[in-house]
C-alpha cells in the first residue's frame, strides 16, 4: 500500500480539476455534486492515509521509513529533483490529522457556505487546492517539493482570505497575508539555497531529506546557524510568530471554515512541521534553538496579552492561535520536538473546534462577530455551547483534556530540558493564565447572561445544521481524548507519542556524528531520547500544579469580571487606561510597521518609479525604439508592396549565396 502514497495528493487534485474547470456548470446543475466531489476527494485521501498509517504502525519502528518517487521533476546538471513522497511517522502523523481535520472542515463548509450562491464551487476548489498543497508540503521528501506546497498553501490562504473580495477590507487582508508570507518565503528559499550550496561544497548536491540530513555534520556551524535562522524566518511568516504574525488576525476576514482549516489547524502549523522535520539541523545550532525558543515564548505571551482585550470573537481566537503557535515553537526551541508536534496535534483539534464553534455562533447571530452584542446563547445553541466549552477547557489546560497534556509537556520541557530556562517556563505559564482568562471571557460573553443583540437578530438565533454540528461533536471527542496519545511518564502513561516519533526526532548532534562514523540512521535513533539531566519527579508535579493553578485563577477572574461583577471591566479599563488602550490596539504593532517599514518602502518605491523607471529605463527603451524607428523609416523605402519585387530580391539573395558557394569551392 505504501506505493499508493501518491493517491493522497492526487484525490484533492482531481477534485480541483473537476470543480475548477466544470464547477460553474455543475453548481448550476446541482449544487450538492460540488461538495460531494470535494468532500469525497478529501475523504478518500483520508482513507488512504489511514490505511498507510495503520500499515506503518504494523511495522517495526526502525522500518517505518519509505520513499516513493513519482517522476523526475527538475533535471538540470547537478540538481536532480523528483516529485517523491516520504512515509515516516512524522509525515504520516501530520497527514493523518491534516486530511482528517480537513475532511471534517470540508463537511462543515457544506453547511456554512450553503448560502453563498455562485461561488460555492470556487470555495471548494480552493479548499481542495489547499489540501493538495498541504499534503505535498507534508509528504514531500525534499525541500523543493515542500516549498511548492509551502507556496501553494500560501496562495490558497490568500485566495480564501479574500474570498469575499467584494468588500475591500477582505481584499486588503488577503494582500497583507500574501505579502507578509512572501517575506517569509524569501527567507525560506534563501535558506534552502544556502543549504544546497553549502552541502554542494561537500559533494552532496541534493534537496532530498534523506540525503541532506545525514550529511549536515559536514556543514560549518555558522552555516548551520544561518540556515536555521533563515528557515525560522520563513516560519515566522507562515506560522505567525513575532515579527511577522500581523497577517493572521486580519486573515479572519475569510470564511470561518477557512479560519479553522488554514489559520488554526493546518497551514500555520507547517512552520512547526518544517522545524520539526529539520530537527537535526537545529540540534546542531544551539543559538538558533535559543532564538526559536525565545521568539516562541515571547509570541505566546505577547499574543495572549492582545487577546485579553479583543471584542471580535474570531480575533480573540486568532490571537489565541498565534499564542499557541508560540508555545509550539517554544517546545521546538528547547529541543522537545515531539512535544511541539504533540501540541500541534491537540491544538489542531480544539482550535479547529473553537473556530468552527465560533462559526456556528456567527451563523446563529446572522453574521455578527462582536462579542459585546452576543450573550445567552447557551440555551439556544446547546451543541455549539457544549462542544466549545470542552474546547475551551482543553485550551485552558484543565487536567484530563488534551490541551493539558501537550501544553504541560512543553512547559515542563521549557524548564527541564538542557536548552530550557526558568524564565521560559515562567513566560509560558503566564501566557497560559492569560489564555485561560481570555478564552473563558469569550465563553462567558458569548453564552452566558442575557442576549444583547438587536431584536430582529434575536429572533433568528438557531442551532446550526447537522453538517456543521456533527464535525463539532467529532472534534469535541477528539479534543477530549486526543491527549491520551501522549500521557507523560510522570502521570503513569507511557508517552506513546514520543516513542512513535522517535525514529524521526531522536537524532541529537552526537547521533549524527555516530552516523557519520558508520552507523545506520534509523538504528541509532532507537532509544536516544534519554535526556541528559533529569530533574526530579517532584519538580514536575509541582510545575504541573502551578500551571493548572494559574489557569484556574485565570478562569476565576474571568468569571468574576464577566458573570458576577460585570461593571468591573469598565472600571479596570478606566483605571489602567493606557494599558487597556495598548492592548486593545494590539500594542500598535501595525501602526509601527506602517511607520518603520511601509512608509520608507513607499518612498523608495516612489524614487524607483519616478527616477529609475520612468526616466532611465523607459528612456533607454524608448531611445532604442526611436533608433529602430528611424532606421526602419529609411529601410522601408525598399518595401514597395509589389510581390514580384520581393520575389526578385529572393532571387537576388539566392544568386548571391550560390555565387559565394561557387567561389568558395572554386577558390
Amino acid at each position: 500500500m505504501f506505493d499508493y502514497v501518491w493517491l493522497i495528493p492526487v484525490f484533492p487534485a482531481i477534485g480541483v480539476l473537476i470543480n475548477g474547470f466544470l464547477g460553474k456548470r455543475i453548481e448550476k446543475f446541482n449544487k450538492s455534486i460540488v461538495h460531494w466531489v470535494a468532500c469525497g476527494a478529501v475523504g478518500l485521501s483520508f482513507l488512504v492515509t489511514c490505511i498507510i498509517f495503520f500499515q506503518m504502525l504494523g511495522l517495526e519502528p526502525e522500518h517505518r521509513f519509505y520513499e516513493f518517487t513519482c517522476f523526475n521533476w527538475i533535471s538540470g546538471g547537478v540538481l536532480q529533483t523528483y516529485v517523491a513522497y516520504q512515509i515516516d511517522p512524522l509525515s504520516m502523523l501530520m497527514c493523518m490529522f491534516v486530511t482528517g481535520v480537513g475532511f471534517l472542515i470540508h463537511v462543515y463548509s457544506i453547511g456554512y457556505m450553503a448560502h453563498d450562491e455562485g461561488r460555492y464551487y470556487r470555495f471548494f476548489t480552493y479548499l481542495n487546492l489547499f489540501m493538495f498543497s498541504m499534503i505535498n508540503l507534508i509528504l514531500a521528501n525534499n525541500f523543493l517539493l515542500m516549498f511548492l506546497g509551502w507556496e501553494g498553501v500560501g496562495m490558497c490562504s490568500y485566495l480564501l482570505i479574500g474570498f469575499w473580495f467584494s468588500e475591500e477590507a477582505n481584499a486588503v487582508a488577503g494582500k497583507k497575508a500574501f505579502i507578509t508570507n512572501r517575506v517569509g518565503d524569501f527567507f525560506f528559499i534563501v535558506g534552502m539555497l544556502v543549504l544546497f550550496c553549502g552541502l554542494g561544497e561537500h559533494g552532496v548536491w541534493s534537496f532530498q531529506f534523506s540525503r541532506v540530513f545525514p550529511n549536515v555534520h559536514l556543514l560549518s556551524p555558522n552555516t548551520v546557524t544561518l540556515v536555521c535562522l533563515l528557515f525560522f524566518a520563513g516560519c515566522t511568516a507562515k506560522s505567525a510568530q513575532i515579527p511577522l504574525y500581523i497577517w493572521l488576525p486580519d486573515a479572519m476576514a475569510g470564511p470561518t471554515p477557512v479560519s479553522a482549516l488554514i489559520h488554526a489547524a493546518t497551514m500555520v502549523t507547517s512552520g512547526v512541521y518544517m522545524v520539526a522535520r529539520s530537527n537535526i539541523l537545529y540540534s546542531l545550532s544551539p543559538f538558533a534553538m535559543g532564538v526559536v525558543a525565545v521568539v516562541g515564548a515571547l509570541t505566546a505571551l505577547f499574543a495572549a496579552s492582545i487577546g485579553l482585550a479583543q471584542n471580535d470573537i474570531k480575533k480573540v481566537l486568532a490571537y489565541s492561535t498565534v499564542s499557541q503557535l508560540g508555545y509550539m515553537f517554544l517546545g521546538l526551541g528547547v529541543g522537545a520536538y515531539a512535544a511541539g508536534m504533540f501540541h500541534v496535534l491537540t491544538h489542531s483539534f480544539f482550535k479547529a473546534l473553537l473556530f468552527m464553534g465560533a462559526g456556528s455562533v456567527i451563523h446563529a447571530m446572522s453574521g455578527e462577530q462582536d462579542m459585546r452584542l452576543m450573550g445567552g446563547l447557551r440555551k439556544k445553541t446547546p451543541i455549539t455551547f457544549i462542544t466549545m466549552f470542552i474546547a475551551t477547557l482543553a485550551i485552558a489546560g484543565i487536567p484530563g483534556l488534551s490541551g493539558f497534556f501537550s501544553k504541560d509537556e512543553i512547559l515542563w520541557q521549557a524548564y527541564s530540558s538542557p536548552h530550557g530556562h526558568f524564565l521560559l517556563w515562567l513566560t509560558g505559564a503566564v501566557a497560559a493564565g492569560m489564555t485561560a482568562f481570555y478564552m473563558f471571557r469569550l465563553i462567558f460573553m458569548t453564552f452566558y447572561n442575557e442576549n444583547r443583540a438587536p431584536e430582529d437578530v434575536q429572533h433568528h438565533i438557531h442551532e446550526s445544521p447537522k453538517a456543521m454540528t456533527v464535525p463539532l461533536m467529532v472534534l469535541a471527542v477528539l479534543s477530549v481524548i486526543g491527549g491520551y496519545l501522549g500521557v507523560p511518564h510522570a502521570l503513569g502513561g507511557s508517552n506513546r507519542f514520543h516513542k512513535f516519533l522517535d525514529p524521526v526526532m531522536g537524532m541529537g548532534p552526537d547521533k549524527i556524528f555516530q552516523k557519520a562514523a558508520g552507523g545506520s540512521l534509523h538504528h541509532v535513533a532507537e532509544g536516544s531520547h534519554v535526556a541528559a539531566h533529569h530533574p526530579s519527579l517532584f519538580m514536575e508535579y509541582l510545575l504541573m500544579a502551578v500551571s493548572v493553578a494559574i489557569a484556574l485563577i485565570g478562569i476565576y477572574i474571568a468569571y468574576v469580571m464577566y458573570v458576577k461583577k460585570r461593571d468591573l471591566p469598565e472600571k479596570l479599563a478606566e483605571k489602567f487606561r493606557l494599558l487597556h488602550r495598548m492592548l486593545f490596539n494590539k500594542w500598535y504593532v501595525d501602526e509601527l510597521y506602517t511607520l518603520v517599514i511601509i512608509r520608507p518602502f513607499h518612498g523608495i518605491s516612489n524614487f524607483f518609479w519616478k527616477i529609475i523607471d520612468v526616466i532611465m529605463i523607459d528612456g533607454m527603451v524608448n531611445g532604442v525604439a526611436r533608433v529602430v524607428g528611424w532606421g526602419s523609416s529609411v529601410l522601408r523605402l525598399i518595401q514597395s508592396g509589389y510581390v514580384q519585387c520581393y520575389a526578385v530580391s529572393i532571387i537576388f539573395g539566392t544568386v548571391a549565396l550560390l555565387v559565394y558557394y561557387f567561389l568558395k569551392i572554386a577558390g
Partner: protein, 102 residues
Amino acid sequence: MMVDHQNIYLILSALLFVIGAAGAITRRNAIIVFMCIEIMLGAVNLVFLTFSRANQSVEGTFMVLFIMAVAAAEAAVGLAIFILMYRKAGSIDVDRFNIMKW
C-alpha cells in the same frame, strides 16, 4: 539496362526552374504567376527525383510526395485568395496590389 542521364535531368530542371521564375516575376496575372510557381516546384521535384535515384535513397521521393501535397493545399488556399482579390478589386493583376506595405 543502365539508367544514367543525370546531367540531362539536371540541366532540364535548371531550365524549367529559370523559366518558371521568369514567369513568376514578369507576368501580371496572379493565376499565371501561381502556375509559374508550380513549374518551379516541378523543376525542384525533378531534381529531387534525379538525386533520389542517383543516391538510391527514398528521401528525395518522399520530398516530392510532400511537395505535391503542399502544392495541393497551396492551390486550394491560393485560388480562394484569387477569388477574394477579384471580388475586392475586380482584377487579379498583381501589379495593382501593393497594399502590403507600411
